[in-house]
Assembly symmetry: D2
Homo-oligomer: 405 residues x 4
């Protein structure tokens, strides 16, 4: 047996941190002894715990410490972070440190510095004395990559001591909730966030169009509730088709029935936009007169359209190289405070992977599996709303208008 002392500080009990820590040790068949435990006796007080953790051998112990580390365990005296050079582009040194999506610090040159752009399942590089979180494709030969857990500190979000209706719903995926009231809670949160100067991103799938929520999303953009739109070729084409023909993939948006010859609309739309050189130009020329993309262009809301193998065309603005698209998304998401994910599994999970756990994330889908998958893939902070986006979005916009008055 070999052991080590670690300490925890914070709302250890009501944020379940200590429980999870002891669980982890037991699951990994380690041993522990609680050396010191001071509980915050009142609401506002922090707790402190000092544990002796033991494993069968060094490797076993390190495995345990690595997991405790993610829960916020610290070494008693911080040691300098350990770095190793990448031997080639996209090649990681052995024992590389894998990030969580929680705020993270490294002890570098004698002080704690925060890791920039933190998101999950990436690595940390030190570049110009700054710690940056990068994905494997961004690793360059010679990059100094953090290895091991030494000198790395994670601060998992604490649950707020005060009750918040918004926080409360976290993790739920049931369709048996009062949808209209939940819509109001989200609207209220959005308004408060905008008042404080916060920024909101919308991630939208093509069903937003098919289900008839297009006008509501366009209105939300017009009224300033959307600071960034992330989507794909399909949404943009369907939205512009709706502007030109009143159909979405050939389906009449007033009756839900396919229009004869409607599949031509789709190709015609793509060809038309390509012929003038893109969406922005088409709006400027007055070809596209309303809708989601129109409002983005008119209101200078940036949009990123990432390519997929289902795409027809695609439109000139679509980024067909997925790695470039991902990089553009990552940069655009910097500084975003809230993300609304609307009826898209692929984009929701992709965006979830790029977000720190401190960003408020709401995932709306009629299929509970989408929400479950998002959380299974690590975006545990997401609030799932299992509902029909075609009714949800108009209702959300209605609430935004009501509450703002």
């Amino acid at each position: 047996m070999i052991g080590k002392e670690v300490e925890f500080e914070g709302h250890l009990i009501d944020s379940l941190i200590l429980s999870k820590a002891l669980d982890t040790i037991l699951d990994l068949e380690g041993e522990f002894e609680i050396l010191e435990f001071r509980v915050g006796r009142k609401k506002e007080e922090h707790s402190y715990a000092r544990l002796f953790v033991a494993g069968k051998d060094e490797e076993h112990l390190n495995k345990i410490l690595r997991e405790l580390h993610k829960l916020g365990a610290r070494e008693i005296k911080p040691e300098e972070v350990e770095l190793k050079e990448a031997e080639a582009d996209k090649v990681l040194p052995d024992n590389f440190y894998v990030t969580t999506n929680h705020p993270t610090y490294v002890f570098y040159k004698g002080r704690w510095i925060e890791v920039e752009d933190i998101s999950m399942d990436r690595v940390i590089a030190i570049r110009d004395d700054r710690a940056v979180c990068i994905s494997i494709d961004e690793v360059k030969k010679g990059d100094k990559i953090v290895v091991g857990e030494k000198g790395v500190k994670v601060v998992p979000p604490e649950r707020p001591r005060k009750y918040s209706p918004f926080q409360f719903m976290g993790g739920s995926v049931s369709s048996e909730r009062p949808t209209e009231e939940i819509t109001e809670i989200i609207a209220r949160e959005m308004i408060e966030l905008k008042k404080k100067g916060g920024r909101i991103a919308v991630v939208a799938g093509p069903a937003v169009n098919h289900t008839g929520a297009r006008e509501a999303l366009a209105a939300m953009i017009r009224d300033g509730y959307v600071d960034l739109l992330l989507s794909g070729n399909a949404l943009a084409v369907h939205d512009i088709e709706a502007s030109l023909f009143g159909t979405s993939l050939g389906m009449d948006l007033r009756t839900g029935r396919p229009v004869p010859g409607g599949n031509r609309h789709h190709l015609y739309t793509i060809s038309k936009i390509i012929s003038v050189g893109g969406i922005k130009r088409a709006v400027e020329l007055g070809i596209v007169k309303d809708g989601i993309m129109y409002e983005c262009v008119k209101n200078n809301v940036p949009f990123i359209l990432a390519g997929s193998i289902r795409d027809d065309g695609p439109l000139p603005e679509v980024i067909t190289d997925v790695m470039k698209a991902k990089k553009a998304m990552k940069e655009a998401l910097r500084g975003i405070d809230m993300v609304l994910m609307l009826a898209t599994t692929l984009h929701s999970i992709a965006v979830g992977n790029l977000l720190p756990s401190t960003v408020k994330t709401i995932c709306v889908d009629i299929n509970p599996a989408t929400v479950t998958k998002l959380m299974d893939r690590g975006t545990a902070q997401a609030i799932g709303v299992v509902t029909d986006v075609g009714l949800f979005l108009p209702k959300l916009y209605e609430k935004l208008r009501e509450l703002r008055e």
Copy 2:
């Protein structure tokens, strides 16, 4: 080989009847020859077909004829219907005729009489010179039961030659439709039906309450859009709990979060209603002051609450014997022109089994499997709307108000 002549009349081509008939013969490995075929050359004209159908032997031929029969095939000269007595209660004679849910006639004492209360998978009895469709549990010893297909005529519904937005949607179960517009189509249909003196039944599951659509349903009852409510103990208890406490199964209907001690509300509600003798009495005493059940009582809208093994209590009005409940439902559904099925698989299928194919049936559920099951079980006329009942019902009520003005 042994054969027989049959004839078809009607919109044989555009209602797919002839196609289905030939298919059926081929599937069953029979032979056919088309002896005569006159096509309706213009929209308003009927078509006529005379076929010679052949099978390997009498049994095989009868098997084929039995299937053709369901599609409307008639013998050239009608023969008297064949009857056999039931030997005991609930025991059917051999070769009993199984009903479809289409309008059906029997050739009895030299003339065609219509079968009353037609619904699928039942049998036909002649009682007092009337033909009645009864379920197996209604069969009494000595009942004259129709056997074979001789002297029985089925008239499958023809597709209307004129386009109707309402009819159009039939059979669809996709969640990718413009929900708000579909809601408007349904509202329009309801208003037209009520203008003509039609009657509407609502079949509702407890999710109507949980998702917050309770007030919308109550308002629809108050405004005269509901002529019959079919549900179970759970809906009634949750609805009354909402009136007494503002919660549904202990969940606050304003926030969607469980109220501490909320599970007491459920039992308290049941005990309270039992103590005063039932829902009607509780409304009269002023204990229940609003909601679905309140409006039913106040507006003399009959309701049937059928028992299930999940029930707590149950409330005094609940019919705990399922066969008695089914009989009560069957009687109440007589003369209903439209049924709205809201978020309940069990009740939807049970009610579907009791309806003729001429009743307009709309099934609303967030789970596409509910709609698929309903149709698999024979309620082919149903229109499926895959959406969140918690937003659908308030929107439907809003549309009903808008359109009526």
Copy 3:
């Protein structure tokens, strides 16, 4: 402000009990002070906590204490349980105590006695100096019903300190798990349980038949893995139809396609079984020669068929009064150690309501919503397996055979 001291004992940290307790207090806007806290320093040691809890007034405090009580909080010195008489059948006294599904004790005549037949959302009556858990419909005028939390102790299940693959899976509803391996874990658990003389109940929906898992379930009954079958009329009719005709509701079980005239099979089966007087008699007479019901009769495995409003017939053994069916189910479930719920939402939730939290519960359904609903309704101990019962059950039987050898 008004307060009271309570104590907790057990694995407070790793079973999350203390965290939940503090959470509860904060959610209800109460105050607390931790007066004493001794943590089990090693795995095998219990922890102990003494808290001072305060509320705004007596009512508020009681509300908080009621919730803490469910988590196992005890008064420092036990007081005698408080009882009140029921004024009428099915009518509860004010302030009645609502049960959890955890083992529960009442302090009656100076000692702790265990409550019999504990299950959730019921009340406790003292009858002949025994404490029994009864549902509202079992309350008789004059019954001594427990009121308030005084003298009542709940023992929530502690998470085992040792890792168990079976326990681990609890709460999961994802379809992205290695299904074959999970099947093996369940098989292993069943075999171990049978070795120890444990008893297993199966709750089965009609999809067991439609999906072709009928033979596997029959074989499991034959081999002694099933001690009780809970189902409805549909499963029994379809199973016997499969024995008589090879079809299930008219669908050929070898090809999955409807057999012409197959809907007759269903009614014929019902009529036939009714004519001989029931399932048991039909097996004895050699009419039914294989299948699920056959094996139940031949192996003396009791079965309970509860009625529903969807039933045709029903078969003579079906209990058409749902309250009687529920009572029969409750009695049959006494002493059951494990329940396999197969492809049925209604029966799963109904049975879940009748089980203590100590019974191992596995819920298999292709629709994740069924599992989610079961847990939402309080059966938190259930393990959800999202898979196709038509392949799961044959695989489970294969594993049972492999592992037993």
Copy 4:
């Protein structure tokens, strides 16, 4: 009113072609008169119909004729196909012809030539006297693009007159089918196809790995049942991770539980494969010793990995530009006779768009919405099997072995 004569030939009645044609005319508010109608009196005879179709004006008439055209309507005397040059890359001439996924011919230089690579929602170009079906991004400036319907003939698939168990299932998406038997029907079809020298493609999502079906797919590749694998980065990484560590995205494939530090496995795998230069090289070096990708390399089965914005890494073989990936997929799919789509919505729809309607297509998913979407998007020939791929694939392989012996 303005009109035109068209003719139809084939199994007009039992393939529903005439019914659909008349429906279409009525839906579009056109008029028709049936000028001649000769029905195939016996099974083996074709039918012939000559119709006069009328519209309000030329535009209206053309709209109707365009739709009839898709159903196989021909002008009485074929006219030369009409061509127009593309004015720029990716820009279509007005009135461009949109393809179906049915076999299509153009009347060019006095004779009918078949359009190559037919798939839906594309255009037809004449290049070097050959007619080729191309997508909008393949259109080059100066390409001669078919416009209007003149001189274009579509041959929709006729339903086989002989019953085939495989064909039968088409269109079904219910989960209530005998899964094991359906698996056998598919296995039988695959064996027969391979005997005739047919080629099978597999489209697989990452759930194949997570659910434990990896070994079954690897075995099917080894045994020669797979001629092409289409997938993405995730499947390949998870498969190789399973080979290196026994985990899939850090989840132990034996227990379904996350392994501590398992998220490292994912990144480690990517880094390792990148460092040696790709999957093929890793197999050759003996680093990857089993699994799906291993068998592809060892058995020279081509694989295409298309990029997506969710990808980590990605592996060197992944095509990150989606338009290039799509082009590679299209070329690889040429000559494929059957496609098995396993647990992936995105790839299934993308591949469905690239297939002619004559390719046998089976879509396996636990979520019925995936199958519904695939068909809604035009892949109407697909057979949907709603089941758990984790049990389906091992069972399919077992059947393939049994049946081949």
